[in-house]
C-alpha cells in the first residue's frame, strides 16, 4: 500500500480529541475508526500493510540500541519517502496512528515515571503529533527515528551505516546537537566527522560539551561546508585533544 497522509483538518480534529480517544490510543482503535476520515496517500510511495510487525520490542535491549534498530527498519520500510515528505507532520501522524500506536505505548508510555492519565495524554500529544519542524526531528515517535537514519545515510560514504546509526542513537547529547540544532550539523561531512570521532573516543558529557563548543566556534572561522570529512576529522580531533589537555 501507499504511505497514508491525513488532511490537516483531520489532524487538528484528532489533536483536539486526544482525551475522547484515550482508550483507542491505549488499547487500539476499532476497525471503523479510520474509515471515518478522508485518509489519502502519498504518490509513488510504499509501505507494507503489516509493517508494524517488523518493529523490534525487546526489554533486554538498551533504549539507544532499540532506537537504532527501529530507525533502520523504519528508514528502509518507508519506500521512496523523500526528505520533503518527511517534514510533513500530516504523514507522520497518519503513520503513527495506523502503524506505530503499539510501539509508542511500549517505547514512550509504559515507563515507570508515567503513571497518571494526564501524563499519558501529554505523551500521546507529543509523540503522535508534531506542530513544528523541530518536533518532527526530535519528539514524534516515528519521524525522529527516520531522521536519525536519514542523517547517517546522508553522510555515510564508505562507512558502516548501521554502526553510524547506533553511534548516533546511543549518544543522547550528540544526537540532540545534530537533530535539534542543525546549524552546522546540516553539513553531512560535519556529522560524519563527529560520529567517527565518537566511535573512536566515546566522550563523557563534560568533555563532549567543551568539544562541541570548540566546533561551534570553529564554524565562525572555517567554512565547514567547503571542507572534506577528512579535513574536518583532523580539525575536530585537534579540538578533542585541546579539550582533553
Amino acid at each position: 500500500m501507499k504511505i497514508p497522509i491525513f488532511p490537516q483538518s483531520i489532524l487538528v480534529d484528532l489533536y483536539s480529541k486526544i482525551n475522547a480517544n484515550y482508550n483507542g490510543y491505549m488499547n487500539g482503535f476499532d476497525e471503523d475508526f479510520f474509515k471515518r476520515f478522508n485518509v489519502q496517500t502519498v504518490i509513488n510511495t510504499e509501505i507494507a500493510s503489516d509493517f508494524s510487525d517488523e518493529l523490534v520490542f525487546d526489554d533486554n535491549i538498551s533504549r539507544g540500541n532499540l532506537d537504532a534498530l527501529n530507525a533502520i527498519i523504519i528508514y528502509n520500510g518507508l519506500k521512496d519517502l523523500t526528505p520533503y515528505h518527511a517534514k510533513d507532520s500530516r504523514i507522520w501522524s497518519a503513520l503513527n496512528h495506523m502503524f506505530f500506536r503499539e510501539y509508542t505505548i511500549y517505547r514512550h508510555i509504559k515507563r515507570p515515571n508515567i503513571t497518571s492519565k494526564e501524563e499519558k495524554l501529554k505523551v500521546i500529544g507529543k509523540r503522535f503529533f508534531s506542530k513544528t519542524s523541530r518536533q518532527i526531528d526530535s519528539e514524534n515517535v516515528s519521524s525522529r527515528l527516520w531522521w536519525s537514519a536519514y542523517v547517517a545515510d546522508q553522510c555515510r560514504g564508505d562507512h558502516d551505516f548501521e554502526k553510524l546509526v547506533k553511534t548516533l542513537c546511543n549518544n543522547t547529547d550528540l544526537r540532540n546537537s545534530i537533530l535539534e540544532r542543525p546549524t552546522i550539523f546540516q553539513i553531512p561531512q560535519v556529522v560524519l566527522a563527529s560520529l567517527l570521532l565518537h566511535e573512536k573516543y566515546p566522550m563523557k558529557r563534560e568533555v563532549y560539551r567543551d568539544w562541541i563548543k570548540l566546533i561551534n566556534f570553529g564554524g565562525g572561522k572555517h567554512i565547514y561546508g567547503a571542507m572534506s570529512a577528512d579535513e574536518l576529522l583532523k580539525l575536530f580531533e585537534q579540538y578533542y585533544d585541546e579539550v582533553k589537555s
Binding site: K2, I5, P83, K87, K131, Y150, G225
Partner: protein, 291 residues
C-alpha cells in the same frame, strides 16, 4: 573601516557593498561582491530545481588567484530542515574573463522550507595577495594567504521550497468547527504551520452547501478565504517571523512567482489575495487516491 561583529575576519574579505558608505568602508574600498543567484523549477522535470549563478564584481587579484588555481570559487546551497548541504566548484580557468557563470541542479525532494545559497572564494594554496584597494586602515596593501582562508563571500540568498495543490491557496488554510462561534463569526490563528480558521456550525453548514458548485465555491472564496489570506498577507508584511511557518513560505513564494509573471498585479494585500485565487501558482504532489 566598518567592523561588522561576527562577520569581520581580521584580514580583508571581499563582501557585498551596496551604498557609497559601505563601499568607502569595505575591506576592499569601492568594491562590491554581489553575485546574481536565480533559482527556478526545471520545466522538463518539476522535481528538479536549478540555481543559476553569475559572478560579478570580484576583485581582480582574487579572480586572478582563482585563475591560477590558488583559490576555488564555490556555490554552496544548504537547507537546515532536511540536513542538505551541497557545494559546487565554479569553473574559472581563464583569469582574463570577468564573469563566471554556472548552473547547479538539485533534487527538489531533498529540500523543504527555507533554502540558503551563497558564493564563497576560499584559498587552496599559500600565496601573497596584493591589492591597492585593501582598506588603508589595515595598514598594508598585501598579505599572506594561507590554505582555507576565506577571500570573498556573497550575501546569502534565501528562498522557500513548498509544494501545494494546484491553484489553491486554500491548501494552507484549515477550517476547524468550534461550537463557541455563532452565525458568521470566525477566528484566524496564524501561529501554526497552516492558517487555522475557526468557524461556527452555521457558517460551516453554509460553506458545505455551496462548495461543490462552481458559483458557490467562488462565493466561499470571496466571502471567507480571500479575507483570511488578506489578513495573513497583511500580517506577513508586518512580521517576517511568520516566514518560519509553512503558510508564510508558501504565500511568499507564490507571490514572488505571481509578481514575476503578472507585472500589473497591485501590491495591496487584498489585491494580492484575489490574484492568488486566479492564477495557477503551485504544484501538486499528493495523490487523490483514498484508502
Amino acid at each position: 573601516m566598518k567592523y561588522i561583529p561576527n562577520k569581520s575576519y581580521g584580514y580583508p574579505v571581499q563582501r557585498e557593498s551596496l551604498t557609497a558608505f559601505d563601499k568607502d568602508n569595505a575591506d576592499y574600498t569601492g568594491s562590491d561582491f554581489s553575485p546574481q543567484l536565480h533559482s527556478g523549477i526545471d520545466p522538463d522535470n518539476h522535481n528538479q530545481i536549478f540555481i543559476e549563478v553569475e559572478v560579478l564584481g570580484l576583485e581582480p587579484p582574487i579572480k586572478a588567484a582563482i585563475g591560477k588555481q590558488q583559490a576555488d570559487i564555490f556555490l554552496i546551497v544548504q537547507c537546515k530542515n532536511t540536513f542538505f548541504s551541497a557545494k559546487m566548484l565554479l569553473e574559472h580557468k581563464d583569469a582574463s574573463k570577468s564573469i563566471i557563470n554556472d548552473e547547479m541542479k538539485i533534487d527538489a525532494n531533498k529540500l523543504f522550507g527555507e533554502v540558503n545559497a551563497r558564493v564563497l572564494v576560499i584559498a587552496k594554496d599559500e600565496f601573497l595577495l596584493k591589492s591597492d584597494k585593501i582598506n588603508p586602515e589595515f595598514g598594508y596593501d598585501k598579505f599572506s594567504v594561507e590554505k582555507g582562508m576565506l577571500l570573498a563571500e556573497s550575501p546569502t540568498s534565501v528562498w522557500y521550497v513548498n509544494k501545494e495543490p494546484k491553484n489553491n491557496p486554500k491548501s494552507i488554510v484549515t477550517l476547524n468547527v468550534l461550537d463557541t462561534l455563532k452565525g458568521g463569526e470566525y477566528t484566524i490563528d496564524l501561529d501554526n504551520e497552516y492558517i487555522e480558521v475557526g468557524i461556527g456550525n452555521d457558517l460551516n453548514q453554509k460553506i458545505s452547501l455551496y462548495k461543490n458548485t462552481k458559483g458557490g465555491a467562488s462565493l466561499n472564496n470571496n466571502l471567507l478565504y480571500v479575507p483570511v489570506i488578506t489578513f495573513a498577507l497583511t500580517k506577513l508584511k508586518d512580521n517576517d517571523e511568520y516566514k518560519e511557518f509553512k503558510w508564510g513560505q508558501v504565500l511568499t513564494t507564490a507571490l514572488e512567482e505571481l509578481e514575476f509573471s503578472n507585472e500589473t498585479m497591485r501590491s495591496e494585500p487584498h489585491n494580492q489575495a484575489q490574484a492568488l485565487f486566479r492564477d495557477i501558482i503551485l504544484t501538486d504532489i499528493y495523490d487523490e487516491t483514498k484508502l
